[in-house]
């Protein structure tokens, strides 16, 4: 499937359009448009993409984004994780509309990509699990950039992504259930605080 993503990207690239299709398809040659449409259909059918076509990120970047979101707030015994909560779609939507997010997140993913290539000779998704963990452990804490200033772009990226992932997860149905929020509904009487020690 990933080969197909690349093919689609190559098709669009060869047409001089960058990566994202959208309405621009209207102006490309019919044959190429048909091919691109076909590839988007194939991609939509791919269960791993959840039927979602990224609005901003390239398929490869989006895959990485999904993995990072899930690493930040993973599925556990109590609930599903960030992917099931729709956090990557939410982040992609906001990013497609905001140049500042594009710089922070697009730039951050590029930083992660090249840092993994330098360190491990592979892009993030291809790295061994222990290498993925090592780089996340580096960029998940501000104190690390004090020791190694070259980590600063990664730390800034991850800090921002962590906030947005929390937004996406905790505003989802499963996230709200996970927290145990009860309300947003019609009640005829408000009972006040239940008995709680020290409160």
């Amino acid at each position: 499937m990933s080969a197909n993503f690349v093919s689609r990207r190559n098709v669009l690239k060869s047409l001089g359009m960058g990566v994202v299709a959208g309405s621009v398809l209207q102006v490309i040659p019919l044959e190429a448009a048909e091919y691109a449409h076909h590839m988007i259909e194939v991609e939509r059918a791919d269960p791993r993409s959840g039927g979602y076509t990224p609005k901003f990120f390239s398929p490869q970047q989006y895959k990485t984004l999904q993995m990072l979101c899930e690493a930040i707030l993973p599925e556990d015994a109590d609930s599903g994780g960030a992917i099931e909560a729709g956090a990557p779609e939410f982040i992609d939507l906001l990013t497609s509309e905001n140049p500042d997010y594009q710089l922070k997140l697009g730039g951050g993913l590029t930083w992660l990509h090249s840092t993994c290539l330098i360190r491990y000779g592979k892009e993030y998704l291809e790295c061994a699990p222990q290498h993925q963990k090592a780089i996340l452990d580096d960029i998940a804490y501000r104190k690390n950039e004090l020791l190694d200033p070259t980590l600063s772009p990664g730390v800034a990226f991850f800090t921002f992504l962590r906030n947005l992932t929390a937004d996406g997860f905790f505003t989802s149905k499963i996230g709200i259930e996970y927290l145990g929020y009860i309300g947003n509904t019609f009640v005829s009487d408000f009972p006040g605080c239940p008995p709680v020690p020290d409160v």
Binding site: I72, A166, D198
Partner: protein
């Protein structure tokens, strides 16, 4: 319903603005028998389709963050009742070099009453006698005793919950029963009792019992989204429908007032306005005019209404239109309370806002600043929203299952405190017309000048110290919480950010130092009245909306009497 130019109609009264002041005037004047046309710069409101009550964040693609995440940590988010803005495309305002000011405007039937916090506090007797009390600012030309009957009328009609407490200078009103406290509130109340800080049920314009055909609150905590059942107060749902019922009321929406025209007899004669739908200029005539466009927008309209008689703006012989601009002193702090981790899952929503608050508790005591402030607080197990977890992510860092658990553990454990205090007017805080900038309708815009005085800085410092002592006494830990729209480095809010701007066409007995007389009638133009917060002489530690309505009611009754006597 909108009037074509030239119109044969001459209304008894034209009201400019449909918010708290304009709505109250519309009710009182139409029920008093006058015909009223109201200009509103925004569209009509349709609660059935415009309100997002009970919508879950995941039912919206942006989850409440709005396009590009722009509402993340801003007041206006996707859930809010329509058309309240910090910035309006094509309708800018400017700030003078060295000044920072934010101006929240509403362009919708009902104005900012669709969004307001519903906090409904009476001003106290001392608030009308500021200069007599401490030598600063000025006294009002009226007393508490004169306005008190109008507070009674407003509260009886709109419905305000609260409790009789006899707190000095925070008068009790006509109250519906208050709702029971939430866990966060019982916790803070205990600490306040220890510190001898008065903590009492709040006073909010939300029904806890059915009133005047409106059902009671259903406790979804979403007043700011607009209420389908009209169980809280908004002008659009509580004032304007009864005006409409008289058959003497015409709402002209999407009408941006440009100028009030003066007749040869020295009275106001017509309003020129832009019909936003067509961009064309129209004119509406009336025998009297009530300007209630919000304090700064009212000043703008008067300043833009220039004539040979009033070269500096209508009714501005004193030169004080736009002057004496104040906002509330604001300061915020948040605390983390570990004991709230033990609170079991339960419905914590309540009304849309606080069930308890702290009125100014140091009246008559020695302080290192003049006047006072009240404290609002809230937090706990609210409906999660974008930005809710920034704090815990910032504190805990990391990622994975442990981060997820820490988020859940911390959920509902934070309480935020906000002080709202009195600013004393100063010469460096005012608005005027920008000499070179107009909006997209060609109307000159306002330029703001702003500077807090030392008194306000000292007050904000005291707020911070008080919040800290409450948090620590309650067994919590102070945590900082970013509030990009409000906080300056010294902990005081940006001017205008509290959205209590007022004073720009103040009342007074001396026409040389005030715009309006004791009836909110222009000294210089007999048939011109102002009914928003522009007439206020002081900006006490009580949110202005209830007083806007009480004063508008009083002004409207005076106008009715004048009309009956044939004085208009």
């Amino acid at each position: 319903m909108s009037q074509l130019f030239p119109t044969p109609n001459i209304y008894d009264v034209c009201i400019i603005g449909s918010g708290a002041g304009g709505g109250t005037a519309a009710k009182v004047l139409t029920q008093g028998g006058l015909s009223v046309a109201m200009l509103e710069a925004g569209p009509p409101l349709n609660p059935g389709t415009d309100f997002k009550e009970h919508v879950w964040p995941y039912e919206l693609p942006h989850r409440g963050a709005d396009v590009g995440g722009k509402a993340r940590s801003e007041l206006n988010n996707e859930f809010m009742a329509p058309n309240g803005f910090w910035d309006i495309e094509g309708e800018p305002y400017t700030t003078a070099p060295g000044s920072t000011f934010r101006w929240f405007r509403s362009r919708i039937e009902g104005g900012r009453t669709n969004h307001w916090g519903r906090i409904a506090l009476r001003f106290g007797p001392a608030d009308f006698k500021a200069r007599s009390r401490d030598g600063m600012g000025d006294d009002w030309p009226i007393t508490y005793e004169e306005i008190a009957p109008y507070y009674d009328k407003v509260e009886s009609y709109i419905g305000v919950f609260g409790s009789k407490e006899n707190v000095p200078n925070s008068p009790d009103g006509i109250f519906l029963p208050p709702p029971r406290p939430r866990c966060t509130e019982t916790l803070v109340k205990k600490a306040c009792d220890t510190l001898n800080i008065t903590c009492i049920p709040s006073r909010m314009a939300i029904l806890t019992k059915a009133l005047n055909g409106r059902p009671p609150c259903h406790y979804c905590a979403q007043c700011g989204r607009g209420c389908m059942t009209a169980s809280n107060f908004s002008s659009s749902q509580v004032m304007l429908p009864v005006a409409q019922d008289t058959g003497r009321f015409t709402l002209i929406a999407n009408a941006m007032a440009r100028e009030i025209l003066l007749g040869k007899d020295g009275k106001a004669e017509a309003v020129l306005y832009i019909d936003k739908a067509t961009g064309s200029e129209k004119r509406i005539r009336a025998k009297a005019f009530v300007v209630a466009a919000s304090a700064c927008e009212t000043a703008r309209l008067l300043l833009n209404s220039r004539s040979s008689v009033f070269p500096d703006g209508l009714a501005n012989g004193s030169g004080t239109v736009g002057r004496y601009l104040t906002d509330s002193v604001g300061s915020d702090l948040a605390g983390y309370f570990p004991q709230l981790e033990k609170v079991p899952a339960h419905n914590h929503d309540g009304v849309g806002g606080m069930h308890m608050y702290m009125p100014w508790w140091r009246t008559g005591r020695k302080n290192d600043f003049l006047r006072g402030y009240h404290i609002e607080f809230g937090g706990g197990r609210n409906l999660p929203s974008v930005g809710s977890f920034d704090g815990v992510c910032q504190r805990e860092e990391g990622y994975g299952a442990s981060l997820k658990q820490k988020c859940r553990k911390s959920y509902g454990t934070v309480i935020g405190f906000s002080g709202r205090g009195e600013m004393i007017p100063n010469e460096k805080s005012y608005c005027e017309l920008d000499p070179s900038v107009t909006d997209k309708w060609g109307i000159p815009v306002l330029r703001f000048h702003w500077q807090w005085g030392d008194n306000e800085i000292h007050m904000a410092k005291h707020m911070q110290e008080t919040f800290r002592s409450i948090v620590e006494t309650a067994g919590g830990t102070v945590i900082s919480r970013p509030k990009p729209h409000a906080s300056l480095s010294n902990g005081i809010s940006v001017g205008g950010a509290i959205i209590h701007e007022l004073g720009t066409a103040r009342m007074g007995n001396d026409p040389k130092t005030s715009v309006l007389n004791r009836n909110c009638q222009a000294h210089d133009v007999k048939n011109l009245f102002v009914a928003d917060a522009a007439p206020f002489v002081t900006n006490p530690d009580k949110n202005p909306t209830l007083s806007i309505m009480a004063l508008s009611w009083r002004t409207s009754e005076f106008l009715l009497e004048q009309a009956k006597k044939g004085e208009l």
